[in-house]
């Protein structure tokens, strides 16, 4: 059975198993649990105290609590990943056996935070190195040991990037002469024009 929220693949077995665990708590508590899981996915911090209070009525053990958080995280994040609308998510979850009230609660929470989730996931996507900052300085070389009157402007560029494989900040300092800098600027402007054409 192919499910859109799993990316047109089969639903994993553990998700099927844990959906029956989710059905044990009431639909109101489930909506509050969804809200907590969404806070965790948006990296706003999850309050485990509240979660254990919500699941205390259904007498969930710690394994069940972890499983229900995991299955809700999976459903919400893969639905956002594959850009599924909330109606199709709702029908697919009901096909998997989640009761109607639980499904509607989940889909309502999903719809509210749909775009925020997608923005967060876009931010977390793989980027190799990120440019953190650029600082520059223009100097004028007056003279040197080789020639008495030089009078040449140069640009010093300091680029601070976040390395891909190391994950730590890397600083590169370059000094560029005026012509080379003009070439650099023209090429970068052409690249920027190409990027703007795509927007």
């Amino acid at each position: 059975m192919r499910f859109r929220f799993c990316g047109d693949l089969d639903c994993p077995d553990w998700v099927l198993a844990e959906i029956s665990t989710l059905a044990k708590i009431s639909s109101v508590k489930m909506k509050l649990l969804c809200a907590q899981v969404l806070k965790d996915l948006l990296e706003e911090g999850i309050d485990y105290e509240k979660v254990s209070k919500l699941t205390a009525d259904a007498k969930f053990e710690s394994g069940d609590i972890k499983a229900s958080i995991a299955v809700l995280s999976f459903i919400l994040s893969s639905a956002a990943k594959h850009n599924v609308e909330s109606e199709s998510l709702s029908s697919e979850l009901q096909q998997l056996g989640l009761p109607k009230e639980h499904t509607s609660g989940l889909c309502k929470s999903y719809e509210d935070k749909h775009s925020a989730l997608q923005d967060k996931l876009r931010e977390k996507s793989l980027r190799l190195s990120r440019l953190n900052s650029v600082s520059w300085r223009v100097d004028c070389i007056l003279s040197s040991s080789e020639l008495k009157e030089v009078n040449e402007p140069t640009v010093h560029l300091k680029l601070q990037a976040q390395g891909a494989e190391s994950g730590s900040a890397e600083t590169t300092v370059v000094s560029v002469s005026a012509e080379k800098f003009r070439v650099l600027l023209t090429e970068l402007k052409q690249a920027q024009a190409m990027m703007n054409a795509l927007q």
């Binding site: 996507s125 793989l126 190799l128 891909a164 494989e165 994950g167 090429e187 690249a191 190409m194 795509l198």
Partner: protein
């Protein structure tokens, strides 16, 4: 299989018969703690003062016990062989019983600690990927070149995480997938099954 114990080793353990069996049991417990958590030399000071022996004797005794336990756990010797090896040291039977009990109780925990000391290769932990399309470069505009970038997170043992970044085009990626699926499928052929059946 008997343990071969050197003369120097027998000297180190020579002071054990001179103390109470209860003290030997206590030393055994200290030795197991040290094997799990590392040596804490303050314990040696306290023990030496209480018993009235010099620190080096106490230290040699505990380290001797640790060596006895690790060697026997490493070689996984049976109880009878352990008793025979310890008999060489010339201790009383009561002492031998205490040492045997210590060995039997702690064998599995010591073995699991020892397995963690083996060298490990970096192993796969997590994968992030992205699909890009290169549209142009400084030298050529109007290109369409798809590129898949993958970042592997590898772990080595318990600590250091390495990150390894690879790029490939989609046809190489498909070939990679086909080769890996063939590798998985080779686990199911007769040769592999025969060997797996015979490993306990």
């Amino acid at each position: 299989m008997l343990l071969v114990l050197s003369e120097e080793y027998k000297e180190h353990l020579a002071f054990l018969p001179q103390v109470d069996p209860a003290v030997v049991f206590e030393f055994g417990r200290i030795a197991v703690e040290f094997l799990k958590r590392g040596i804490n030399s303050k314990v040696y000071d306290g023990a030496a003062r209480k018993l009235g022996f010099p620190i080096t004797t106490v230290q040699h005794g505990v380290e001797g016990l640790m060596f006895l336990l690790t060697e026997s756990s490493k070689l996984m010797i049976t109880d009878i062989d352990f008793k025979d090896s310890v008999m060489v040291l010339g201790f009383s039977t009561e002492l031998n019983e205490i040492l045997l009990q210590l060995y039997v109780e702690n064998q599995t925990t010591i073995r699991s600690t020892l397995t963690q000391l083996a060298p490990s290769l970096p192993s796969y932990h997590n994968l992030e990927w992205r699909l890009d399309v290169q549209l142009g470069s400084r030298s050529m505009r109007h290109q369409v070149v798809p590129v898949v970038t993958m970042l592997f997170n590898l772990t080595m043992g318990t600590s250091e995480n390495r990150r390894c970044c690879l790029q490939t085009n989609p046809s190489t990626l498909l070939h990679l997938i086909a080769v890996l699926e063939a590798a998985l499928a080779s686990m199911k052929n007769n040769h592999a099954r025969r060997i797996l059946r015979n490993i306990k």
